[in-house]
């Protein structure tokens, strides 16, 4: 009953004309981002974060969240049409989705992707509404040592699930933690690593770092190499063969359950969810069926899984203040900039924000379904936007976005430095996402570490005495060791 009353509050917040407008802008931008290969939601949210500073926290979160789950919808379009995933989470959709397109069933594949995404998104939103309350109640009983262990667990998962060498991902997390330690500590003390620069006394800004590492690095990469995918013609026919609709629906439900569960885990998210859902469908398909034969299950399951995971990844963010993946880490940074400290108190102290976001997710998913099906052809046209116009305009937006935050030209220097660093890291085979995760969690980890040590009079065994923190640390170590053994 409480959930219904809260949802009513959420809908009254989300259905205001302004919030409906921001939700629409967010999902449309997300769709565009998902369709364009190379520009992911991390880059877009990093670029658009400064635009939201003049909005209220609720409106900003509704718009940014719309970009996130909208990109999960759009990512499948290029995967199906040109075998090029617009989003990492749509990678497995290429296999059967593009096979369907080659068979002249592109319209059906796109329709299955849209409807499955809607099912995953809607049921995922339900999971957020149902599970956030109990999880927040559990989080309220967490002590400082438990929080440190929980964040260490999130970082360990970030390392394990990162692409490439595990040691490099570990180094990236540590580098992010160190960058997050620049400036004055929140619990008091002199500024660190500022080299006498007063601009660094408050630490490195999240926006210049994110815009540099993701946005500018992406642009430098694109300037170096030109990508020119060829678009194949899509048929407008969307009706499925008899029996296929039922198979697609069942696969969507399986994918949704798996995606919703994996999205909640720190370090999890849409990418892992889609791969896991596809793996399950391959096991369930008949033995003589090739994984690339164009089965609707191969499109429905990963698409529903990645959308469900995109929704449920908000649960650890809003209840524990722990980002489960880099996009959510960016949203966490955005919330902090707006003066909202994510954690269990968000639900009780800012119910409009929390339930407004949940209601907007439902509305956003319905909007996506309504605009996705008729506009499939138009989204494909976006692939033809010439880079010679797109790149300089994006750099100009990066400049004004970074400067507009604090009107401090020094932040542009920081953004440029992180842009070059991000490009260098890519060339060295290092993923910048774990760095961002470390940077975001640096301050809360340090804060809770200091608190835990103060409470225990400097005794480091406090982390082993608390059963929850000991268990979480043991799981983190076990995860890292097993992943290292697997990759060796």
């Amino acid at each position: 009953m409480d959930v219904l009353a809260h949802l009513a509050l959420g809908f009254s917040t989300a259905l205001t004309p302004a919030n409906l407008g921001y939700c629409f802008i967010g999902v449309c931008l997300g769709m565009v981002v998902g369709v364009l290969p190379g520009i992911g939601p991390v880059t877009t949210i990093a670029l658009l974060l400064p635009f939201t500073f003049s909005l209220s926290a609720t409106s900003a979160l509704i718009m940014l969240a719309g970009i996130y789950y909208g990109s999960q919808y759009g990512g499948s379009t290029t995967a199906i049409l040109i075998n090029l995933p617009g989003e990492a989470s749509a990678t497995v959709t290429c296999l059967d989705g593009h096979a369907m397109a080659r068979q002249g069933r592109a319209g059906q594949a796109l329709a299955v992707a849209s409807v499955s995404s809607f099912i995953g998104g809607t049921l995922g939103t339900l999971a957020v509404a149902a599970l956030s309350g109990p999880l927040a109640a559990l989080a309220s009983s967490f002590e400082a040592a438990d929080y440190v262990a929980l964040m260490a667990f999130g970082l360990a998962l970030g390392v394990v699930l990162a692409q490439g060498a595990m040691m490099k991902a570990t180094a990236m997390v540590l580098l992010g933690l160190l960058l997050g330690a620049v400036g004055s500590p929140t619990l008091g003390g002199p500024p660190r690593f500022t080299f006498g620069l007063t601009s660094l006394a408050d630490g490195i800004g999240f926006v210049p770092l994110a815009v540099g590492l993701f946005g500018l690095a992406e642009i430098i990469d694109a300037l170096e190499s030109a990508r020119a995918p060829s678009v194949m013609k899509t048929s407008g026919h969307v009706r499925l063969e008899p029996g296929e609709a039922k198979r697609a629906l069942l696969a969507s439900l399986r994918g949704t359950m798996l995606g919703a569960a994996l999205g909640v885990l720190p370090g999890g998210g849409p990418v892992i969810a889609s791969f896991a859902a596809y793996a399950v469908e391959r096991k369930l398909l008949s033995v003589d069926a090739s994984p690339r034969y164009g089965a609707v299950e191969g499109v429905a399951a990963p698409e529903s899984a990645n959308n469900a995971a995109a929704q449920t990844s908000f649960i650890p963010l809003l209840t524990l203040g722990i980002p489960s993946n880099p996009v959510v880490a960016l949203l966490l940074g955005g919330l902090v900039v707006h003066g909202v400290q994510p954690g269990p108190e968000v639900i009780t102290k800012q119910p409009e924000l929390f339930w407004g976001l949940i209601a907007s997710m439902w509305i956003g998913n319905a909007m996506l379904l309504a605009i996705n099906l008729p506009l499939v052809g138009l989204w494909a046209q976006l692939l033809r936007v010439p880079q010679r116009f797109l790149l300089p305009a994006t750099v100009a937006l990066c400049c004004i976005g970074v400067y507009g935050l604090n009107h401090n030209p020094f932040e542009l220097v920081i953004a440029a430095a992180f842009g070059i660093m991000g490009y260098g890291l890519r060339n060295l085979g290092c993923e910048p996402a774990p760095l961002l995760l470390g940077f975001i969690l640096s301050q809360p980890i340090e804060e809770n570490l200091q608190r835990a040590l103060s409470f225990s009079h400097g005794d480091p065994t406090t982390f082993l005495v608390h059963p929850r923190s000991a268990a979480l640390l043991a799981i983190s170590i076990a995860l890292l060791v097993s992943a290292a053994k697997r990759r060796a």
């Binding site: 540590l174 160190l178 619990l187 642009i219 300089p392 750099v395 103060s454």
Partner: protein, 137 residues
């Protein structure tokens, strides 16, 4: 990569060791020291596990796009408070177009003017940012 981690970690340790000892300071420097120690350790492991030919798996580093992007941001940083948003944005766009032969000079100038007009309308007109539009004399 490993060497960079070793250098950054060692530098961080050195910087935190040079401070005067006090209980508040010790607490403030504890976390960076732990992280820097971890960074040195991971850097050492990366170096020890590095392949015999260190260039393997490392892509070519193109300097020119980095210079133009950094130059574009620097130009914006220098010009924004003196020359105003329009000139800063136009210069920034023109510098980026130098990265690759994207557009002819006149095309670039026309496009830069268009982008400047858009950002001026968006940021000053719609979002009401207190940024000077034109040079201050």
């Amino acid at each position: 990569m490993g060497l960079s981690c070793l250098v950054v970690g060692t530098l961080a340790i050195a910087l935190t060791c040079s401070a005067e000892p006090s209980s508040q300071l010790a607490m403030a420097l504890l976390f960076p020291r732990i992280v820097a120690g971890g960074l040195i350790l991971s850097g050492a492991v990366i170096v020890l596990r590095a392949p015999p030919h260190p260039r393997e798996g490392v892509q070519r580093f193109s300097l020119w796009p980095c210079i133009t992007i950094a130059g574009s941001l620097m130009a914006f940083a220098v010009l924004i408070e003196t020359a105003g948003l329009v000139l800063a944005t136009m210069t920034s766009v023109l510098v980026v177009t130098l990265a690759r032969r994207m557009l002819s000079f006149w095309q670039a100038l026309w496009f830069a003017a268009w982008v400047a007009a858009f950002v001026a309308l968006m940021f000053i007109g719609v979002l009401g940012q207190a940024i000077p539009l034109v040079p201050r004399f």
